[in-house]
């Protein structure tokens, strides 16, 4: 037998080996192609996931009624689409040192964290087994979900953050990677967009409610105003007719004088009412009324205002305490308007304080921060919710109690506007049955040392 010529069996063996090798090579290629295809499909799936997540999330605009509900449903959509173990939405706290956890999903019976101290949001947006977990900020970040493998996005403008996490690195099919940024940032931006939309919707609803309330208040004001105008006019017309026609006969001078007094009082009240309305109208329409500013003694104006208010207080048996320190600087302001404000506050305090109560007026210079005029009483007070109403034009008109008292209810809004015209502020502290304190602050730039009057003024 020639050793160089293979036998048919040897040929068959070599042929079998050839086919086996080729089959394995082809098989390996098929396997790799299959794997490439799967990888491509998984990549395509990620894009589809982003698109689906965004599509589903935007439906929340119509399906939710509150911002809180948006957060809960958003996380449900995120978890459903990313198949992650846990997810949370965070909002950076105003102190910028912490993040408040607003919504969580996937914690089961475990209590999720309320907040996380994280002064600077991390620059990375995912963790893998290669991340140094023992060092901040990764160490801090994993505390939110208490899971090691995270995908995170933070939006600097809205200061919202979205984080998802997994127990195992290769969750479902692979670790987090750079390509996932689109997903997490996309989800966060949709969430922020919906939150802003919802907030705008809520603001619009509130504005609508406010406008409707203002319209109702205005209607009530007009009704009340016509009543307030008619009452003194009726008195004027009625009493003047009695006098003109001498209906009580010629010899009742005393009675006619009394009626003339009523006519005068009604005319004066009417004038005051019309002045208030004119002031308010100017402030409402023009935003301003001209101030005639000059330096004056604060004590003088306080005492003039007191003179207006004292008779009513004495009549009701209310003690009035006034304190204006000596050596007060001059006030550069419109004295007529400041007197109007103080008189109005004293009048209100007297009006809403029962007999035997006390009204106090204190004036002092708050070191470097200007002049403070404080009017307090031991009267009926009001709930904190009613304070903005009392300060709003027409607002007090709706207050049932105030309608039991004389006045248009325009005093406080006018006072506030006048103080603000002087660059100051008017604040109210009050509680039902605890009395009320109105604090006026006028800026330090309006205070001039008495000795330097005529000079440009030394500002305290």
């Amino acid at each position: 037998m020639n050793p160089e010529v293979p036998t048919p069996v040897q040929d068959l063996g070599r042929e079998l080996e050839f086919y086996r090798r080729e089959y394995n090579d082809l098989g390996a290629r098929v396997l790799r192609l299959q794997e490439e295809q799967s990888r491509a499909f998984r990549e395509a799936r990620r894009s589809r996931t982003v698109a689906r997540l965004i599509r589903e999330a935007y439906k929340l605009v119509d399906r939710t009624s509150s911002i809180d509900e948006v957060g809960a449903l958003m996380l449900k959509i995120v978890v459903d689409n990313t198949i992650c173990d846990r997810a949370a939405i965070l909002k950076r706290a105003p102190d910028r040192e912490r993040f408040i956890v607003t919504h969580t999903l996937g914690f089961g019976e475990e209590d999720p964290p309320d907040e996380l101290v994280l002064p600077s949001p991390p620059s990375f947006y995912y963790t893998t087994s290669a991340t140094r977990m023992e060092e901040p900020p990764a160490r801090d970040l994993v505390r939110i979900l208490r899971l090691p493998y995270l995908l995170w996005a933070f939006e600097t403008e809205s200061e919202y953050a979205l984080i998802i996490g997994n127990r195992s690195e290769g969750n479902v099919n692979r670790p987090f990677e750079a390509g996932d940024r689109e997903l997490i940032e996309g989800a966060l931006s949709v969430y922020v967009d919906i939150v802003y939309r919802k907030r705008t919707e809520e603001d619009l609803r509130a504005a609508k409610r406010e406008a409707e309330s203002a319209r109702a208040a205005q209607a009530a004001f007009l009704a009340s105003l016509s009543h307030d105008l008619r009452t003194p006019l009726n008195a004027i017309i009625g009493f003047s007719e009695v006098i003109r026609d001498q209906l009580l006969g010629p010899d009742t001078q005393e009675k006619y004088r009394e009626y003339a007094t009523h006519i005068h009082e009604s005319g004066t009240h009417l004038l005051s009412l019309i002045n208030d309305i004119l002031d308010l109208s100017k402030l409402e329409k023009q935003g301003s009324i001209p101030l005639q500013e000059e330096p004056f003694e604060i004590a003088d104006v306080v005492h003039q205002a007191l003179k207006d208010a004292l008779p009513a207080a004495q009549e009701k048996g209310i003690a009035v305490e006034v304190s204006v320190p000596d050596q007060m600087p001059l006030l550069l302001a419109d004295p007529r308007r400041i007197r109007q404000v103080i008189a109005n506050l004293l009048s209100n305090a007297t009006k809403f304080t029962p007999s035997g109560g006390k009204v106090a007026l204190h004036t002092f210079v708050d070191d470097g921060r200007g002049l403070v005029i404080e009017v307090s009483d031991t009267g009926i007070g009001m709930a904190s919710d009613d304070i903005p109403k009392a300060l709003a034009p027409f607002g007090q008109i709706q207050n049932v109690y105030s309608r039991q008292h004389k006045g248009t209810g325009l005093g406080l809004p006018i006072c506030k506007a006048l103080v603000e015209l002087h660059g100051g502020s008017l604040a109210i502290r009050s509680a039902p049955d605890q009395g009320t304190t109105v604090t006026i602050r006028l800026p330090a730039s309006r205070l001039i040392e008495a000795a330097e009057t005529g000079d440009p003024g030394s500002v305290l």
Binding site: R20, A28, L31, Q37, S38, D80, G108, N173
Partner: protein, 399 residues
């Protein structure tokens, strides 16, 4: 009559209530099959279900996802319940907690109990909790459980269909509803009454991509050598990737080992193969860990590629086949047990094969399905645990 409810509510009690609603509206359920997404509190879910349906036996357990006509998904909050209203359909339920000590003994206990009660040619549903430990992941193998079951069953002939339950696709845990409550490391056999029979189709999707290889060294589920070479090396050469690097994809996503039954050199037929997923590849030992320990030294295997197109095709063909076989039957319910690895997120398939099944299958039969860890179905006349398959079973009544 059977009614199926579905929910994806994140609150476990509310999810139970939503699942129970269509059942309660139809009448009083006598027992139920329930599957509950892994992110839920399973105890609260079961409690919620009992609040709605009464103190009835509930079997099933955790699921990586659920499949119903009302909804399908694997986000972790999906739940599904099938309520059986006809008292005649109430099964005998046998549970064991011996899985933790010995899967074989657990199977043996169930098999012996079933042998005493079950009529010839009965149908038995077998559910068990798949995950034995999580760090590192260790599964309760299904093959000794099923082996023990058949041993205990003796010569009785019946149809066995079932699954290992999972809480998610990452094998993080598993729970079982065993007919009386919630259990771990347990198995439950649901022996259907004699008038209920089953038709089953096993849907595959793997093709061989290598010549035959012999397992030359194996210990349990740990395959050390193929044709005398380290198993990891053989696979890496085929795949062209490093399987043991931390960043590598899970090997279970890439390939399986398949054993061909029947004529080894006969034409390819998907039903001839039993595939084993690869749980992990180990650099230090050069070995690969399979999901099941049923291969032995000398077992001839092929490396199999998961083929998504073939998977979809198999679903279409298998669904059509089972519809043909049950066309004139009074079908009660269809049960779809779907390997979690076949879900699009994991397999990379362009469509969900569960959706393909739902579109293809007849809509007048109630259907409940879930994503499982291991499927149990008949291959060549006897059931065994399967990997990367879907098992579509239709229960129908006769007489």
């Amino acid at each position: 009559m059977v009614r199926v409810g579905f929910s994806r509510n994140v609150d476990s009690g509310t999810a139970a209530k939503e699942c129970a609603r269509p059942i309660r509206e139809a009448g009083q359920a006598t027992w139920a099959i329930a599957f509950c997404g892994g992110k839920h509190n399973h105890e609260a879910f079961l409690r919620g279900l009992r609040d709605e349906l009464g103190d009835i036996p509930v079997v099933g357990g955790s699921a990586a996802g659920t499949i119903t006509r009302a909804g399908t998904g694997y986000g972790g909050f999906e739940t599904a319940v099938a309520g059986f209203l006809d008292p005649k359909d109430r099964p005998r339920i046998i549970a064991t907690g011996r899985l933790a000590t010995s899967e074989w003994d657990a199977g043996l206990e169930l098999g012996e109990a079933v042998r005493k009660d079950a009529a010839e040619e009965s149908t038995v549903l077998l559910f068990y909790s798949s995950v034995a430990a999580t760090a590192p992941v260790r599964l309760h193998p299904g093959s000794p459980l099923v082996g023990g079951f058949y041993h205990g069953l003796g010569d009785r002939n019946l149809t066995l269909v079932g699954a290992g339950t999972l809480t998610d696709m990452n094998l993080s845990g598993s729970w079982l509803f065993d007919g009386t409550g919630l259990a771990a490391h347990s198995a439950v056999a649901v022996v259907m009454p004699p008038h209920l029979h089953a038709e089953t189709a096993v849907l595959h999707g793997c093709v061989p991509v290598s010549s035959f290889m012999e397992i030359t060294r194996i210990e349990g589920a740990e395959v050390y050598e193929l044709d005398g070479r380290p198993a990891v090396q053989v696979l890496e050469e085929m795949l062209g990737v490093n399987l043991t690097s931390g960043q590598a994809q899970s090997p279970s996503l890439i390939a399986t080992l398949g054993e061909k039954h029947g004529d080894r050199f006969g034409p390819y037929h998907e039903d001839a193969y039993v595939n084993r997923l690869i749980l992990s590849a180990n650099a230090s030992t050069g070995s690969i860990t399979l999901f099941e320990p049923d291969f032995k030294p000398g077992t001839i295997v092929q490396i199999m590629s998961r083929d998504n197109a073939l998977m979809i095709e198999s679903v279409r063909k298998g669904t059509a086949e089972i519809m043909r076989r049950t066309a004139n039957r009074a079908s009660k319910i269809a049960l779809y047990i779907d390997c979690a690895g076949r879900a699009s997120a994991r397999s990379g398939a362009p469509v969900e094969e569960a959706d393909v099944m739902l579109e293809s299958f007849r809509s007048d039969v109630p259907l409940i399905g879930f994503y499982s860890g291991v499927e149990i179905a008949p291959i060549n006349g006897q059931s065994r645990p399967l990997d990367w398959t879907a098992v579509l079973t239709v229960l129908y009544s006769e007489g």
